[in-house]
Symmetry: C5
Subunit: 381 residues, 5 copies
């Protein structure tokens, strides 16, 4: 089950948008190392076996673990794709058939783990992440894929079984007779790693659009909802970087160590993976710096808004408060106030009031407050 | 005695929530290196001795140091767990029995020390921290555990004796006949280190919840109490990172140095410890970046609040100040004011006032101040 | 086609100023590695072939790929400049003639790629960027140039064909008989790299001017448009750094690796390239720090503006609000108010009002508000 | 003379709290390397000579440099402690006796120098800092101690002679017959380095208290004086870090280089020094991060204060400005205003005014402004 | 010509204080590598030749390049100091006599270059900067000095000829018969490098004073002019760091590479240079952190100012707005208002107004606004 669905189940209304990208799996203090944590009601995992060599491909869907030993031959390349983590029994059965180290199953089952590569005596284990964007809302989900590479076999454990991410690779295996079949399971491993790395690009593409939207929002019409959006953006970019960073060191380790698992012919292709992952980190770093600037931009915009509000208040008060004072004077009840009894006193008074009012307006117009205020209005509409 | 209780004793009312996570023990200037600082009224330490080999386990509780030499045999593995630092005499007695280096007891007693690993001629010394969360309030306490690993014995010095953190390990030793007994004291050392590292995960889990709460608070209802909470969060994450960082280098040192204390079979398990500690640092770094963003979010929220307050003031003033000016005009006592004597003058005046008031309202409504103001209200309720 | 024009086509009115400097090309998830992505309506690429040795130069413009094999001789140095990526057929034809690795054409065609250098068996491939400033608006455009260096030939693939950046090099080849002809294609490679690096300097020169203008704007007359300008500046400097950084590691790799592609005589010239690129990074880092300070300066300026606005409001209110209260007193209709019936009461009242008003003014003048206010006025005008 | 007293002499009233922790000594441009800068009126330095071996200790106080050669024997360990830099003549005399390199005296005299370690042919020179806290005011003073370690002699040059920091070491030499005497001058060097490193701990302890006080002040009652305090704190922590950082590399250099000056027996003790100095840097880094957060906290607190002030203003204005408008209406002098002549008009008007006033109050109470306002009041008192 | 004067010529009134410390020289795109850029109206450069060995010194001023070959002998050490870059012809003549690499003259002439060291076959080239503070205004000017060190000769190219920075070295050469003459041109090189490094110290001393002044200004009397000053400070510190950083790597390179240009006797002196340059970087880093804190301090001070202004406004409004409302009530023209006809009504009303006014004042005094306000006043005066 993917990390997302797992979380949605026990999260209430308030924080339903917030996914916990920052947790790793950890043993409950006191539990024995090597304990598998499998959910009770797990759907049985689906096994897809593909035997292939240069001449032929044989695909078997939905076989049971018991049948596995029949299909394993040392002659051709074998790819066993296990979709869904299923029951402990099945996993242990597979573990026995392929001779797993005691700690290995733990890494596969107790998701999420930090991406890593480990060399055992006769197996190379790669823990990797695939990312999918959530279609209905912003954000993304990780799915852990564990690859166990043996001499002539490749096992892939997919965390969930709602989507078959590697189906098109199988199709290509069946149709294409070229390089993909002749180069063995290490080249297949490269292909799968490449698929998982490339899954990050469309997700980042979406972030590029979100950043552009937020730029417009923060500069032109900053409001209370802008802030949580910027914060959410930073949070998710942080999570993405944290996911990709260890994968880069996985690829680097694979490139550097000249093991007998990854042939030298595949090495030049790994360089391609490395290029892509460096590009990913590059983009994320840029996005993080931009999002950090966005927070500053938002703060400045808010300060600007305060200024505009203050200007309105100041203009209104500065014009009318003195005028009110003057009309107050002539509202006084002194017995002897000579101005009151003149015939045109009232109209002269009104004239003076208008003059004072307009000269205040002129003062503010000369300071540019009235003009600037209009400009802003334009920008917003 | 743990660091917390030690501090609570001499701290007054004001700052009782603030624990001093940042102090290390230091000698008073002028004191001789190697001086032990033990509190006068220390409770005697409790010794639990466990002898075990593949076939049998013998546990002796509450033995006195004098009896120790009787139980030490070179035949089987020996684990002496000293709970509470007790009196200087007991410690020196143990030091003599196990032939400690002069500076070693100082590291054990003068807590807190920075986690470290030191190689002596016939002993490997590990200073490590275990963390427990405080149940009644936020925060956590460190407890220093010192491990002295000899050829076939392991000594563990626990700072406090209020809780037996390693009890379930002893239980497993007694019940389980498998790996734990056959692999010797180096595997036991790994198990204890793993327990101590894993003790950080539940504490971090609590921080994840606190950060989410603070996010809501900072964005939706920022108030004066939010600020100290964010600051306290940053302070504690800083303390956690500072505690874990040296432990990571302890594990790295143990992995790299191929000593005769840690067998090669245990090395693959240490990689597991290393993975966990890297995950811890990963999480803490993410939390620190989030908490740093939270401060920005809080500042922006406060600025937003200022804006909202200013808007209310400006709306009220902009509507009523000009109106008050107009009613002031007709409060003047000029003898000749033609409007005053017209029959409907008063009602026309009221009509004009209403018109001006509503057009002001319309102006603000068009600017979105009234609407936006409502939205915020909704968000808060 | 350059990155800019490519983007302008599918970008609407709002964000037309914003260029996407942060995207790299990526395969659509599921596509096979090595797929070429060429636009349907691509203009055929123009091929310019230059054969030269110490004695003579032969330049052929607009030759078709079919003719290429006739001109290739091992005797002299050959430079084939392909302007515009053109059709897949042409590219594959060239790829076959020069024996390209399967993944190489992908790097050339699927622009933009991250600058890099790759060593194949008999070819050295350099992906590099040239930058041109946009004349009509701020900003710049990248153009990817791919160099394939063989034993005695150099292929250059230019992304666009709207401008011939290397024309003057060809002219020098024809006119100059000295070093440029005798030193072979590796020296020619150095010359082209130097041209591409030097293309960044005039662009940075423009940024120097923009920063100075923004400094004046942020300090003296900060307004709402200053903020987006600073943000845009940061964004573009970030993009420039991201473009130059990998190019520096390209030059470093070329300097360190003593291959048989780059002769030792050219190495001393590469040091010059390296100096220039370090200078570029130096300047950009300085500009980034300055732009980061500019944001602070802008924020402070806005706060200063708020203060000035507040001061006006406070001065006006502090003077007239108390006065209005006093005139209100004498507007009360109590029957027995002795002051009202005195002859000079009105004039004494006016005198008191004036006194209070001027003493308020004096208070603010002594605080320096009036003076400071004038100073600011001066600065702005 | 210590750095502090040196500065206090030529500093006036305004900035008397500010000590210049950031200057190093530098030659006036144009002066010859190796020039000694000694104050004219320097007090003669006091020489304390201690000869010791395992069996006996001989201490001579206040000897003159002329007598020195008599006491120097190759048989036992010799420690010459020079307190106060004294006159150039004395120093040169000592330099000749112990055969100093030309540049060495410059490092000793021209204080402050950056802490460093230098290996000459037959001498090891360590420049180190001791720190003392100023009792009457905040802050601290550095005192440079230069150690010259020869085969069987140790020379220590103390910058000032107002306090004998090493007196208790001499006392221990006389009383203790154990390790300190038998291990030679390299162990003595370790002891002195340890004293100087440990001198930083009590100073840092004071900073811990100052930070706690500032936390309370910044959160609960921020005022104009808080800001300079935080700034001063940052300034001093910066100075402390700058002082300790090079000392850490001194200790590292001493540990790594297996010279014949520091015996292998002393190396295990140097590890202890290293631990302490890493702890110091750890604590300072934490304090610096906390002080950096404090500035943010202060800024937020000030913004909070602004909000509270604004709330009072808004509440007062929002209640009374509309009421004043209404009473203004009935102050108008229109001849026909029917409400005026009704008998209970006045009391109905008062009732309406009260109603409006209380509903405004209710509005603010519901928004939580009144309540929150009280809470704050409580917090402050 | 120095960088400053060069810039002053083409800079107008507005930005005359701003010097462009961030530009390096770059070739116009399209120009051939190795082109010299010399101003048309350059003053001829002045050549000062100094031949010296242990026994004698011969100085020739104002010799022409044609005479040079006569003076060059392999017997003694030769120092040729070229002041002012002069004409291309002279430089090329010198280049031929001393057998320069083609790219070398470019580095000398096309100023400013980044400081660097380059090893050619028989020459060591050092590009270095000397700094002088501008006496009439803040800021400083760089002057590029290029040193070409051959087996027994040293060439120094000074950018300008308005000041002879090395005159006192020549004087010492003539007077002093000791180390300076006997150690050869590599020791002379060290002396010149030391002069250039030490030229930074007095400039930094001035910055220390500027920072202190700005601290006072930012904390006690922040105004609009403070901000540009802090920004200018940051800008110039950035420029200084950028100038010193590459010089540090020059010294490091000289220390590490054991070439036959710098003898081993001079190496110990270079360590001294290295110490000084590390001290410079140390100081600059501290100043940069302080200046960064200063910006925060300024922002906080401005916020504090806003608060003080707001407090005045709030106090005035809170006192008089309610009072004005009350007097407005009794200004209403209702026919039946019983209070109006009582005899002492007016005086009772005045009494109530005074009571309300004073209780408001008491409220603010208890909040500490009045007191705090006075304190601030004191601080400012």
């Amino acid at each position: 089950m993917t990390q997302t669905s797992n979380l949605n189940s026990n999260v209430t209304n308030e924080s339903e948008e917030r996914e916990d990208y920052f947790e790793y799996f950890f043993d409950k203090p006191g539990s024995e190392p090597g304990t598998l944590c499998i959910e009770e009601d797990a759907v049985p995992s689906q096994l897809i076996l593909t035997n292939y060599d240069e001449k032929q491909v044989a695909k078997k869907v939905n076989i049971s673990p018991n049948e596995l030993p029949h299909y394993i031959t040392s002659a051709d390349s074998l790819w066993l794709d296990i979709q869904g983590l299923g029951t402990e029994k099945t996993l242990k059965q597979i573990g026995e058939i392929f001779n797993f180290h005691p700690l290995l199953l733990e890494d596969i089952v107790n998701v999420p783990q930090r991406p890593k590569v480990e060399y055992y005596d006769d197996q190379l284990v790669i823990i990797f992440n695939l990312v999918t964007s959530n279609p209905e809302e912003d954000g993304f989900s990780f799915e852990q894929i564990s690859l166990i590479l043996g001499e002539n076999y490749l096992l892939t454990f997919q965390e969930g079984h709602n989507k078959d991410y590697f189906d098109f690779i199988r199709t290509r295996l069946e149709k294409d007779k070229g390089k993909i079949r002749s180069l063995g399971v290490d080249y297949l491993t490269y292909l799968l790693l490449d698929v998982m790395i490339d899954s990050f690009f469309p997700v980042l593409e979406e972030y590029s659009e979100r950043i552009e939207k937020l730029e417009d929002e923060a500069i032109i019409s900053p409001n209370r909802k802008t802030l949580p959006k910027i914060y959410k953006l930073r949070r998710e970019l942080l999570a993405l970087r944290r996911a990709i960073w260890p994968q880069q060191s996985v690829i680097t380790t694979l490139m550097r160590s000249s093991s007998n698992f990854m042939g030298s012919k595949v090495e030049v292709y790994l360089r391609d993976c490395y290029d892509h992952i460096i590009q990913l980190l590059d983009i994320i770093e840029s996005y993080r710096e931009l999002s950090s600037s966005l927070m500053d931009v938002y703060l400045s915009s808010i300060s600007n808004q305060t200024n505009e509000i203050m200007k309105i208040l100041t203009i209104i008060s500065s014009i009318f408060v003195p005028l009110t004072f003057i009309v107050g004077i002539y509202g006084m009840n002194f017995e002897y106030m000579p101005e009151l009894s003149t015939k045109w006193g009232y109209f002269i008074c009104l004239g003076v009031l208008a003059m004072i009012g307009f000269s205040s307006l002129f003062f503010f117009w000369k300071r540019g407050w009235l003009k600037r205020f209009d400009v802003v209005e334009e920008q917003i509409e």
